[in-house]
């Protein structure tokens, strides 16, 4: 790309905010009541995570892995790709993350939380992704029908995953966190270019996770 310095983020935005949020509205209508199932799975993570233990770690990894694979196919591949040709690459990234979570957490059982010293920041991030993040859209004036929920929408799923990884990933944190962090940056840039007032939510959540993780490692 010549004269790359003359390009701005808006040069890469292919759709309007109206089209983007309509995508969630139509998606939510199509998959209903999968949101209820996803919310129940999210609550299950919150229940299992603080107790630690092998099978609970495997269950949490299975829920997260399945969520990333679902979003790769149902959201990015089937919906987002209709308005953004780059979404096929994003879908591939989400599928890779889903498979990584299943491999590391479910098959190799390397995602066990320490039930005795739970990472409270990680747990708070998960709680925020499940309950707080979906409420932000309606609070800033978007329709309830366009709500983005954990397990079916990419942003709260990425944030919740980072929270879980703080609690349970151990040495595998950076391997498993790279793609969720990348998505938080991408979605932040997209929403910022669209002028969404909540554009910094996912990048800030990711930044908190990264800073906290580095701080904890010292």
């Amino acid at each position: 790309m010549s004269e790359w310095w003359t390009y701005t983020l808006s040069d890469f935005l292919l759709f309007s905010p109206r089209t983007y949020y309509r995508l969630f509205e139509l998606y939510n209508a199509d998959i209903w009541p999968a949101q209820i199932v996803a919310l129940a799975l999210g609550v299950t993570i919150l229940v299992l995570l603080p107790r630690g233990g092998a099978w609970r770690g495997q269950a949490v990894a299975a829920i997260l892995g399945a969520s990333w694979l679902w979003i790769a196919w149902a959201f990015h591949g089937e919906r987002y790709a209709t308005i953004n040709w780059a979404a096929v690459y994003v879908a591939a990234g989400f599928a890779v993350e889903g498979l990584l979570l299943l491999w590391v957490g479910l098959i190799r059982n390397r995602m066990q939380a320490d039930g005795q010293s739970m990472d409270r920041v990680g747990l708070a991030i998960v709680l925020f992704a499940l309950v707080g993040q979906p409420l932000i859209g309606p609070l800033v004036g978007r329709a309830w029908s366009q709500v983005e929920m954990f397990g079916v929408a990419p942003d709260p799923t990425a944030v919740a995953t980072l929270g879980v990884l703080l609690c349970a990933a151990g040495r595998a944190f950076w391997l498993l966190a790279a793609l969720p962090i990348a998505w938080c940056v991408i979605t932040g840039a997209t929403l910022w270019t669209m002028g969404s007032v909540d554009s910094l939510v996912a990048p800030l959540a990711a930044a908190i996770c990264v800073v906290w993780r580095i701080w904890r490692q010292r």
């Binding site: 010549s2 040069d11 292919l14 309007s16 919906r79």
Partner: protein, 310 residues
């Protein structure tokens, strides 16, 4: 000073011209009294094109949203009703081509369509395949114009496009850029290749094309399509905060959109501008710029000064 007889003759000629032009207005519901559409000839063929076309960047990329697709079809319907012809798209614009195809099918394949699309792929060998995919999205027999989008792999694509033109698979060949990028390279291609069209950015505030591209286009007999006439809406949002100056009536402007578009299409080198919109009301406003009087050079300078001062 003109003699009374000369004035009368001039009035008569003007009246005859207006009446003649009015016969060329596309008949439509509610448009019986509409003014003639101002056209400009494609330099390489003389074919008359309305000076206002329709872009599809962002606005027509609505995916599979049926309600939004119907809304786009309504925009296209208003465009054709008001005498519009040229619709421009690109494979880069995601679902826009399919949405145009949907609209054309819903409108019963309007006969006046001038289909302008682009080839946008880095591998030259895939150019024909991409153009064929685009054609299928539009669901038309052939494109009128295919342009090399942002000069991507133009060395490979242009010979292929000239071959397709020679074979009757398209009618015109062009190149595009936007926001003033790569004008030096655009100039070199305009000098060395038998182009029919070049597409660049030009508006009352972004006038870099005036220096070399537009004069060169006139010299070389190349048609000019203007993208981003409203700076993707930012320009019109800026001027809308102020009232339209009273003197805009002297060039038959009823709103800011017409003011901004008439500035563009009054440049003698420009064939048409392609504003994009999601609103049928706005497309009607835009098409109003292709009617009535256009500004002369003195008025164009006044328009620039006025907008720059806002």
């Amino acid at each position: 000073m003109s003699s009374p007889s000369r004035v009368d003759r001039r009035r008569l000629i003007r009246g005859l011209a207006a009446a003649s032009a009015a016969l060329t207005v596309r008949p439509s519901i509610g448009s019986a009294q509409r003014a003639p559409v101002v056209t400009r000839g494609v330099p390489s063929s003389g074919e008359a094109l309305p000076v206002v076309g329709l872009g599809s960047w962002i606005t027509f990329n609505v995916g599979n949203d049926r309600v939004a697709r119907d809304s786009c079809a309504e925009v296209m319907g208003a465009f054709f009703d008001d005498g519009g012809r040229l619709i421009d798209s690109s494979p880069m614009y995601a679902s826009s081509q399919e949405v145009i195809g949907y609209g054309l099918a819903k409108l019963g394949k309007p006969g006046g369509l001038f289909a302008a699309d682009k080839v946008w792929i880095s591998r030259g060998s895939r150019g024909r395949t991409q153009i064929e995919q685009s054609r299928q999205h539009w669901n038309i027999p052939r494109f009128d114009l295919v342009q090399v989008h942002n000069l991507l792999a133009w060395e490979d694509h242009l010979p292929m496009l000239f071959d397709m033109k020679a074979a009757g698979q398209l009618r015109y060949v062009g190149i595009t850029t936007s926001e003033g990028r790569r004008h030096h390279e655009i100039e070199q291609i305009m000098r060395s290749q038998p182009l029919d069209f070049v597409q660049v950015t030009y508006n009352v505030l972004d006038r870099e094309a005036e220096d070399r591209i537009l004069p060169l286009a006139r010299d070389r007999g190349i048609g000019v399509i203007i993208n981003r006439p409203f700076r993707e809406g930012a320009l019109i949002r800026k001027v809308m905060r102020q009232p339209l100056p009273a003197w805009a009536r002297d060039i038959d402007c009823a709103n800011w959109a017409q003011f901004l578009l008439k500035f563009i299409v009054s440049h003698p080198a420009i064939t048409c501008a392609i504003p994009a919109t999601t609103s049928a009301a706005h497309v009607r406003e835009n098409m109003g710029a292709a009617a009535g009087r256009l500004p002369d050079e003195a008025m164009r300078r006044r328009m620039i000064a006025h907008v720059e001062a806002l």
